[in-house]
Symmetry: none
């Protein structure tokens, strides 16, 4: 994880992965068919850890905006606390190294979150009603927020996260957040 995010896939020899992991090079290839297989499994592993963290924020009893704000906060916080993972995902989410099967697998894993956005579109809460746009727009802005907060670290207050969320949400929502009662 650390090596791939710091140096990149091709600049990271399997020998260094093995050394850092405290195993022999050969051992790596007992557990993973190839370097490509390794990065794919790693990618799946990271996204699933993230999903576990986010899962608890979904609460059908709450309205869309509140749930989304909670997701946003947990998302950004987790990435800030796992910056290697952040760089890693940012780097490989569109890469050819992650194969179609892996992407498909993960798309299904995140179905509950996708469903949240789908419902919001149906309820007419958003300016744009194309699911793909809304999803990628959310991801892009979470990534930007994380990147910025990492570059310019400050008190990691709820207030700052809320401020960035408002900028994001104020753009996409028809009715901006009126009551910031979190």
């Amino acid at each position: 994880m650390r090596l791939f995010s710091e140096a990149g896939f091709h600049a990271t020899p399997t020998s260094r992965i093995a050394k850092l992991s405290g195993v022999a090079t050969g051992t790596l290839f007992h557990h993973f068919a190839s370097k490509e297989a390794l990065i794919n499994e790693l990618y799946i592993y990271v996204k699933r850890r993230l999903r576990e963290v986010l899962r608890h924020e979904l609460d059908a009893a709450l309205d869309f905006c509140t749930q989304l704000l909670r997701l946003w906060c947990v998302d950004v916080r987790w990435f800030l606390g796992h910056y290697d993972e952040f760089i890693f995902m940012r780097q490989y989410c569109d890469s050819h190294l992650i194969d179609a099967r892996t992407k498909e697998l993960l798309y299904q894993d995140f179905e509950p979150f996708i469903e949240l956005f789908r419902a919001a579109i149906i309820s007419g809460l958003l300016k744009n009603d194309h699911l793909e746009f809304v999803l990628s727009h959310y991801v892009a802005n979470v990534q930007h927020c994380t990147f910025y907060m990492y570059q310019f670290p400050d008190a990691l207050s709820d207030a700052r996260l809320l401020h960035f969320f408002e900028i994001y949400y104020g753009g996409i929502a028809i009715q901006p957040t009126k009551e910031n009662d979190q």
Copy 2:
């Protein structure tokens, strides 16, 4: 350009660059000190071409929102018409491969555009008053817009570009665009 954006820096042998360029391998190294030097000069070249295109949109006679909209449209349109360049810049703008000297050089080149945002902050037009945030937020959203429009190509109408701009600008501006008469 095409090779780096498609396969990445490390997965692109200099021999393939040479062959595609119709020159010998040695010729490459006659013009560029190393593969790293090549990608740096390429990066500078692309950003400068983009700057030339954007430069004409700056017009001190117009208000901030109008100028920004014009930049947004030209930016996205140019990237859609030069998608290899888009992928390339997206991939390397934060990479270690682009060295500090190159980044510094380009930061200076884009000073006029940075100035535009600086003035807007001073005029109190934006919700966030940190220049670095505002700049990277613009870039992130232009990139997302481009990426999305490329994935889901449609009529490249002014209306769509304006719609995405409103989502972006509606988030960051205190006073959303009132009159969209462009």
Copy 3:
């Protein structure tokens, strides 16, 4: 060894070293960090083999002249029997390719022999009393003797070796060899 002495360091591709050694190119670099490291280790290896051969000739019970004659004979004979090693050492003993650490290491290894000369100087046996001169003068004349005897091979008789030793020793010693009863 053979390749370096015949063609020289730069004119010997690692691929040829590997082929002649019956291993793959990669294997070479598994055992030696670089071509430079290889030649350094080779140099150390050769000098240590020579030292092992010479070591048995030191005998504190004998006088300086006798010990030196024995060293001279074994030295020249070993070089004549290992002419690749001779050419190799002659070529690289002053080369930049052999790094300072290697030279320092070997200087220590040959301390017993150096001690022999040091004692002779203290005993006032030699015309010149600078250790560095005496050592390098011995080496230069052993090398010349070897080189000449290789160029003009003849019966490798003790008599010839003794004759050349007398020419060498007659120059440096205050009291030339009186009794050549070895």
Copy 4:
């Protein structure tokens, strides 16, 4: 000259030779058929310059020992004043890079000096009567003397040169120098 002696033939690119010479790479190949041809001509050039310097020391009116001492002094002094040339010659005199034709040519050039030694042998002045031995023995000791004096520079007095000559000559001559009246 400087480049070949400092870095060696293979480690000296023709481009660097050209740059240091203040000409273009192509120009080099107008004057010399190849890099090998260049080093051969350079070798000839150096040896001929040395010969010119030594020539004046030959004086048939003087006895062998005196002439040889004069040659020795001028030889060592010239090399100390032209150390690049010294390293160069030392490095390439036995190299495959200097072809047989060049060596033959120079052997003829040095005929007058060879003649000096030939006469001394016939006159029975030397312990060894093989011309090749006597010549190479002289060269080896001049080289050693030069090398040592360069390593341990001191006042370049006539006395020191004479001291080293006596060590050399005391070995090879049947009748050592009796009167050091130079």
